[in-house]
């Protein structure tokens, strides 16, 4: 099948590659760009393990063709650490609050939470739960993911994080 030349910005760097029109963006990211942090958990756009940030929106990259991302500005989990290589507020929050177990949903969950906090810097618990409802986690039961996002929001907002009482 004929391939199309694609250019895009991924984690701040200009990248290019050849992809068939039917190549899913997630495969392009994982196989052509060799960034394997973005995962695949289903093929019906339910699980969100493949979530990346495209031009300021959370997008499930298993439901978009690579050619549709022509010229886009994409951030993946590999672009989430601080410039000095330390964990960002969200990454730190997930670790401190035990917001992950097997780690398979984590990149998608962090990418979604990243956009959620841009949209709503101080979300309530209900807003967080609704905000991540496109991402499935099989291990944690979400409670500590909610706390992880609250931790990150507090850190980003420069306020003290207080865990809600059980």
């Amino acid at each position: 099948m004929a391939k199309t030349h694609i250019t895009m910005k991924v984690n701040g760097a200009e990248v290019e590659g050849l992809a068939e029109p039917r190549t899913l963006l997630v495969h392009f990211i994982r196989e052509n760009l060799q960034m394997t942090g973005t995962h695949i958990g289903c093929e019906t756009t339910h699980c969100g393990a493949c979530t990346v940030d495209i031009d300021g929106m959370s997008v499930k990259s298993c439901t978009m063709f690579a050619v549709q991302a022509q010229g886009s500005d994409i951030t993946t989990i590999e672009g989430m650490a601080n410039a000095d290589g330390s964990l960002s507020a969200l990454q730190e929050g997930f670790r401190m609050m035990h917001g992950l177990q097997c780690g398979f949903c984590t990149p998608g969950m962090i990418m979604r939470a990243h956009r959620l906090l841009k949209e709503n810097p101080s979300p309530t618990e209900t807003e967080i739960r609704m905000g991540i409802s496109g991402n499935i986690c099989r291990c944690t039961g979400y409670q500590n993911i909610v706390k992880a996002i609250q931790y990150a929001a507090a850190k980003i907002n420069g306020v003290e994080f207080r865990e809600a009482a059980e």
Binding site: T36, F104, T106, G141
Partner: protein, 806 residues
Amino acid sequence: MNDMTPTREQREAKLEGMGCKRKRVEDIRFTQGKGNYVDDVKLPGMLHGDFVRSPHAHARVKKIDDTEALKVPGVLAVITAETLKTVNLAWMPTLAGDVQMVLADGKVLFQNQEVAFVVATDRYAADDGINKVVVEYEPLPPLIDPFKAMAPDAPVLREDLAGKTTGAHGPRKHHNHIFEWTVGDKDLTDAAFRKAEVTIKEMISYHRTHPSPLETCQCVCSFDKIKGELTIWGTFQAPHVIRTVVSLIAKLPEQKIHVISPDIGGGFGNKVGAYPGYICAAVASIVTGKPVKWVEDRIENLTATSFARDYHMTTEIASTKEGKVTGLRVHVLADHGAFDACADPSKWPAGFFNIVTGSYDFPTAHLSVDGIYTNKAPGGVAYRCSFRVTEAAYCIERAMDILAQKLGMDPAELRLKNFIKPEQFPYHSALGWEYDSGDYATAMRKAMETVKYAELRKEQAALREAFKRGETREIMGVGVSFFTEIVGAGPSKNCDILGIAMFDSCEIRLHPTGAGIARMGTKSQGQGHETTWAQIIATEIGIPADNIMVEEGNTDTAPYGLGTYGSRSTPVAGAAIAMAARKIKAKAQMIAAYKLEVHEDDLEWDIDGFRVKGLPEKTMSMKDICWAAYNSVPPGMEPGLEAVSYYDPPNMTYPFGAYICVMNIDVDTGVYKVRRFYALDDCGTRINPMIIEGQVHGGLTEAFAIAMGQEIRYDADGNVVTGSFMDFFMPTAVETPHWETDFTVTPSPHHPIGAKGVGESPNVGGVPAFSNAVNDAFSFLGSTHIQMPHDYWRNWKAAKDLGAVA
């Protein structure tokens, strides 16, 4: 001592040993997308394999034509049963003593069964090839209803078993019968029922569901023709067992097989067994001489790669009028699908279902299980469960509620009246187990006090009156569940897999600078072993957990172990860690005695080293002992500081817990709201409370899913109607309730550190708590038992059937 000398508390804290909420070391890579899962493995020249699958539940395969498929650009080979026969691999043995088709041989027996394996240069080309393979089928009548499996005129499913009247577990009664398994004293139990003042009987079904970890099953197989070596990266919960199985069935020398389980994206029992994809990828690599990757998609995972539960349990309890239980009788119809591929220890065709007497002191009990074939996917894996314990706990916990209802007693009171008492441990159950320890009443009472149980019952009574007066359309249920698990398989006297005793292992090697590596026979799939195993070592030998690297999953470097499932890692491998550490400590003591010029017996352990009794300033730290082990050991002693332990546990462990669920249901819509869920777990000694709490949250969420909607359902023709995340209930953060966790600590008396295991408890105890809440809500309308799963529609239907909705 000067001000710089660390206090005892500071020395303890530095270790981050047992009891510490140590943050996970795994998270550094996982939060940065730097985990290494199977699909991340990419080798030069790697090919991709994918399956042609059957659209039929039962059909004869007349012809497979791959002519057009082989013309598709990128397609290199199409493997069928005929190909596999040339290497004697068209069928493979199952863990349960049956055989299973790797690829359809003459007929197909369930929808989405593997028919042919297309090998191509990339996954898209493989998919193109699949679409061009033409398979001619002759449909046969499907057998879907398990209750019709043993009818005289039921279709014959397993033609390969024609004339075989005996299976792996004894006589077969019918052509669709697999085994009958009986435990307990039938005569004594029948007598108890004849004499009983009160009896109950109910057919309690635990529906078919699926573990569905977020990462599906997958592998990369790479055969090196020159060296004759096969390397397999796979999503294996038990890598060593896979190596042995591959060696036995592929007739390859075991030392030339390298099995690597890299990071695993959740398992929940799904990744214990061997699946056709592994065999086909290995054969494809041998045939093509190139690495072959197989990655199943979600629909394939849900419909073909195993299942869980599907137990239909006719349950009877005999009791006195006062509610003292006198006998239990259970018959299970176990739907195993097309092949008996249950992942149980080999001698246990129904797993440890004979834990069904639960937490109660039944003087006698009798259990019989009939396993049968149907046109459904094979499997029967322990989905977050120690081998049918979830089914057993659901069975007894539902039945106790039904008995309470018949007696007009409160279900919590009935439980308190029948609990095995603390002084009865070690307790010998009527169905053959020896429970190690427990204090059930304390746990139950703590749960009841915390949720203000008596007040909840008053509120429920008032709401029921209001409902009868027509003032509300909501009903309220309080679900009580008290479970006893049996985990830690297991003692070699009664547990093996294909003849290999179910011990587990640990090898610890300390380095000169006071650091080390621990290698294990287990394999984490999210449980955090890299974090917690180091904590056990830290407490045992005083080396900070941060200085211990834990490595699992590589069969070339790790000692042989039976893997991680059935909550066995802490009870078995956790014990092996402590035993290996104690061997090291014993040698360390000899070195310290030599260096301090005292007798060994004059030394005592003190947090992170030895000190001379009565001379607290004369000490030698473990760090210094490590250095000494590499340069100045006592004369005649070998240098170095390492040990290995293969631990064969003397008994299982028996974690327990008290769960209470409060739920309201709107009868007109069936919509429920979980108002409160309280979970008290007793897993013995607690290694990392943060991880325990996380495990409980996750297990409760899976229990919630199963009880309230998650089901693999078939229509009458054998089509899977819940085969994707569109239909298979996966709770999101919105549906998932808030969890409250609590604990008591009753250590296991036979475990070196007293730990019992916890990962599966919340699933075992959670499902009955939810189901009992729903059933409790409806009970005043006249129902005794409503089958799971309790989704909105079924709740509405129950209300309608009970006359509460017009």
